[in-house]
Amino acid sequence: MRRATTTEGTTMNADTEDTYLRDVAKRLRALTPAQRSAVLDDVRAHFADAAEAGRTPEQAVEGLGDPATFTRRVQAELGHDADRAGRIRRVLQWTAVAMAVFTAMFETFLWPDGMTFGLFLPIQGDGFAVVLWSLVPALVAALPLVVPARARTATTVVVLAALTALALAAQMTFVPTAMLAWAALIVPVIARHGRPAPAWRIAGGVLLMLPSAQLLSGALAGSWGMDAEAMIYTAVPVGLGLLLLVGRSWPGVVVAAFGAGVLVWGTLDLGMLFLLLWWAGGLFLTVGLSHALAHANLRRTGRA
């Protein structure tokens, strides 16, 4: 009877073990390849030893604990990236604050009279008051960084709602700030176990190509001609979008640096397409930085 079920039993063993190993491998993506493969070797050896001791694969799993608990223990012991998500969140949130300050400076000192893109400055006259007023979004963006951990999620959501409303309804120059604040909410979640699934960087790459689509549709509609310069403007985001398909950190750094460059350039060369340029810069910075952080190799030596 026992002999008759051997084949079926072996298949089932392999299934339980494979499922467990796959789940553990997925959850330990943030570890170095060497650390991860050593842990997986331990698990493989455990299954084999348990089988030899007459235990079923289910009993072997019972001894280890479910993959979530087991990998949490491994990460806790290795002192590894317990705060990976927190670090990503802080970097993006601080960048949102910096972006808000940069936007405020730009609006106060460089914005030419007579140009309005829903510019909203209720205080007129005194320059100092204008500076203070324009820094309010930066202070709002910094709130999630200073509130206690308990209130953080609620604060982040309220701040996001406020920044998004400000950016879309009143002051469109704050769109990049809002984008970074959104990234600070989303990216830590998708990258908490290590590198996110390839679908995320494909989505990031597609997002980067949006300005090209905008330029192309403008050209097709006859808003502007498709000269050599416009073709370069169209090609660059496509190239950067393709670059993001490389699942490493550096393409994100390149894209983010390019985005920062576009933002600075936008403030120096105020043209007809200023807002498009400004938003594109913000988009490149947000997506690039998110990509770089999510794909960073967070290697840390074990506790001594």
Partner: protein, 110 residues
């Protein structure tokens, strides 16, 4: 604090040295090591041994190897390293002196 809680806290601090002590008598494979530790009520299950071994491996205290010399399937053995032996010797000194102090205090408090 409950008896269990006190015991858990104390075990946490000495567990890796117990692993080193067990390995100092010779290399062992995971399940064997886990069996020795659970028999002494030092861990509840294998689920806490492998994560601990991961850290000890990272810190160079133990070293795994696949033994393929036998007739059966390969087995993954853990051995104590030179650094591990030194750490165990240091721990032994600390434990003896600390244990004596605590014992003396407990005797005196009776």
């Amino acid at each position: 604090m409950s008896e269990e809680r006190i015991a858990t806290n104390l075990r946490k601090g000495v567990l890796e040295y117990c692993v080193l002590a067990l390995l100092s008598h010779g290399e062992k494979y995971g399940l064997e090591l886990a069996g020795d530790l659970t028999a002494r009520e030092l861990i509840a299950s294998e689920g806490s041994l492998y994560p601990l071994l991961a850290r000890m491996r990272e810190n160079g205290l133990v070293e795994p190897r696949w033994d393929t010399s036998g007739t059966g399937r390969p087995r993954r053995y853990y051995a104590i390293t030179q650094h591990g032996s030194e750490q165990l010797a240091t721990f032994t000194r600390v434990w003896v002196s600390l244990g004596a102090q605590v014992d003396a205090l407990l005797e005196g408090s009776r």
